[in-house]
């Protein structure tokens, strides 16, 4: 069970003009894991996320999710299939309240668009998550008024609204204070224990070593190494890439 891949990418390639951001990148995220995607700045991690979630079209390569090949990744359809992501720069709806931010993310069938914006069930589900993320006292505040770290938490909570199978987190702890980093780590662990799979881009190596297994290392858009955290840490090529050989 845990060895089956929930997500696989094969030969992903993306060029921006002359820049090759991702080149022939092949990896998989095993079901039930917290997989890390690490690499120096500009190594193509965010671009990989954009390719996987349909925000960018790949020049080559294929993506498969939950055993199905995704021909044309599209954010709306992938979300509804159970794959969701956060952004490196937290993206929330600043003019909406926290509760509204969460309720937008509930998968709605068309016929409910005439129903009231926030139904009773929507509200209790939103409050449940806000409680878990320690944001409940701000439930009715404008999301735009949150601190950067709170926005990151809110975005994280938002992508959980539809009970996804796989969450891609793009630097969830960057620019977040240590207390909140601990809170985020706890959240990830708890959710993972409940069966949620994660693919995490993260610069905090201590956190990666504690939290993630396996670890995938990207450099110049290509996979450099992959394996258990301890093995990856001692890999000479990885050390070169990070320390600049």
């Amino acid at each position: 069970m845990s060895s089956a891949a929930l997500l696989t990418a094969e030969g992903l390639t993306k060029r921006f003009g002359g820049v090759v951001a991702v080149e022939d990148c092949t990896f998989s995220v095993p079901t039930g894991t917290i997989t890390a995607l690490v690499g120096p700045n500009g190594s193509g991690k965010t671009t990989v996320f954009n390719l996987l979630t349909g925000y960018l079209r790949a020049d080559a390569g294929t993506v498969a999710f939950a055993g199905r090949r995704i021909r044309r990744p599209d954010p709306i359809r992938l979300y509804r299939a159970g794959l969701t992501r956060t952004f490196q720069q937290a993206r929330i709806f600043p003019d909406l309240t926290l509760v509204e931010n969460l309720v937008v993310a509930i998968q709605q069938p068309w016929r409910t668009i005439v129903c009231r914006a926030i139904g009773r069930d929507d509200r209790s589900r939103a409050f449940e998550l806000l409680e878990e993320f320690g944001l409940v006292q701000l439930a009715e505040a404008r999301a735009g008024s949150l601190s950067y770290g709170q926005k990151k938490l809110l975005e994280f909570a938002t992508v959980l609204m539809a009970e996804p199978q796989l969450v891609l987190l793009d630097e969830p702890t960057a620019g977040v204070n240590p207390v909140m980093v601990a809170a985020i780590e706890t959240r990830i662990r708890e959710l993972n224990a409940r069966g949620l799979t994660f693919l995490v881009v993260e610069h905090n190596m201590n956190l990666v070593m504690r939290l993630c297994d396996p670890v995938i290392v990207l450099d110049h858009g290509t996979k450099l190494a992959e394996g258990r955290p301890a093995d990856v840490r001692n890999d000479a090529r990885v050390l070169d890439a990070y320390l600049g050989a």
Partner: protein, 336 residues
């Protein structure tokens, strides 16, 4: 958010009750005439707000559908008798529905663009429709115009038109109010804040925008229909008039786009002022300079419009004394 609050009900009922009573109290023709145009612009600005205010896509093409509504009404009643004069009013919902539906494929194409490009694409649409009105002579009679039969209302000729405009405005306000409180409204505001993010959360952005567009266009076409019937003659340059568009957009900006009452308030300020200037200084196009002046002033002093600025002022007063964190309700909440 509750559907209906006592305050909201009182506000809505009070304003529309007074507006409905107005032509029965004030019978001077030229004043009721100004009333008709004020309600017309209030309706246009509110309909524009339903799409552009809620989604953030600035459309400069709604006047095209105003014209299409006018032509559809005029051409229909070239062939069908207007009966005792009220029949064209009863036909309006059908015209709104038809124009709204027909406009969807157009919007589907236009909505592949964003921001500035969308504004320009919709502006092009306006000029295309105007050119069609000039050139499809077999249908529109080109620059000769369409002559609509004139009704013989016993007295107070303007009053039925006034009440028709008021009904469409009420309908537009009701739809805006409902949409704002529904899941559709939440989707639209999400799109306005960050459409890409909304897509990433499974929001069916295209469908939501098309629904808002069709509603907005349908209302605009109904208003055009009343206008055409009011003037009896429909010409390409007056039915599809960029100045009508600019007027409606300016009023929405002045009152506060994205708020429920803002566009209507903007119209109630600007239209009577414009008509007053017209009667005082004669029929010149000087008011265009005044429009430009108002636009500059709005951008400088009230960049978000009257309603949000007032709402902000009120909530700042209310929360100044407390040292709570910034948990002010959103401006929309206070304003709507």
């Amino acid at each position: 958010m509750r559907w209906i609050t006592p305050g909201g009900l009182l506000r809505g009922g009070g304003v529309f009750g007074l507006l409905a009573a107005f032509p029965f109290v004030e019978r001077t023709d030229w004043i009721v005439n100004i009333g008709v145009f004020t309600l017309m612009y209030a309706g246009l600005a509110t309909a524009w707000n339903l799409f552009s205010g809620y989604t953030g896509y600035i459309s400069l093409g709604q006047a095209a559908f105003f014209g299409i509504g006018a032509y559809a009404t005029g051409i229909t009643f070239e062939h069908i008798s207007i009966g005792s004069g009220y029949r064209p009013f009863y036909a309006l919902p059908l015209i709104g529905l038809a124009v709204g539906l027909v406009s969807v494929p157009v919007a589907w194409v236009a909505l592949r663009t964003r921001a500035m490009t969308f504004a320009i694409v919709t502006l092009m649409l306006l000029f295309i429709v105007q050119q069609l009105a000039f050139n499809l002579r077999s249908i529109t009679h080109g620059s000769q115009g369409v002559a609509v039969p004139q009704p013989t209302f016993a007295s107070n000729f303007d009053r039925p038109y006034y009440l028709a405009m008021l009904s469409v405005l009420a309908l537009a306000m009701l739809i805006c109010w409902y949409v704002r409180r529904s899941k559709l409204g939440l989707m639209l505001l999400g799109i306005r804040d960050d459409e890409e993010k909304a897509r990433g959360l499974g929001v069916r952005v295209t469908g939501a925008k098309l629904i808002a567009w069709a509603l907005s266009v349908g209302l605009t076409a109904m208003i055009g229909g009343i206008w055409g019937y009011y003037l009896f003659s429909i010409y390409p340059e007056s039915a599809v008039d960029p100045l009508v568009m600019i007027g409606a957009v300016l009023m929405a900006f002045l009152g506060g786009k994205g708020t429920l009452w803002g566009p209507m308030i903007g119209a109630f300020v600007l239209v009577p002022a414009q008509q007053w200037a017209l009667t005082s200084y004669g029929a010149t196009r000087l008011y265009l300079i005044a429009y430009a002046g108002v636009f500059v002033l709005v951008l400088l002093l009230l960049p978000r419009g009257i309603v949000p600025s007032l709402a902000d002022l009120v909530s700042r007063r209310r929360f100044r004394a407390t040292d709570r964190p910034d948990v002010r309700p959103t401006v929309e909440r206070v304003a709507s």
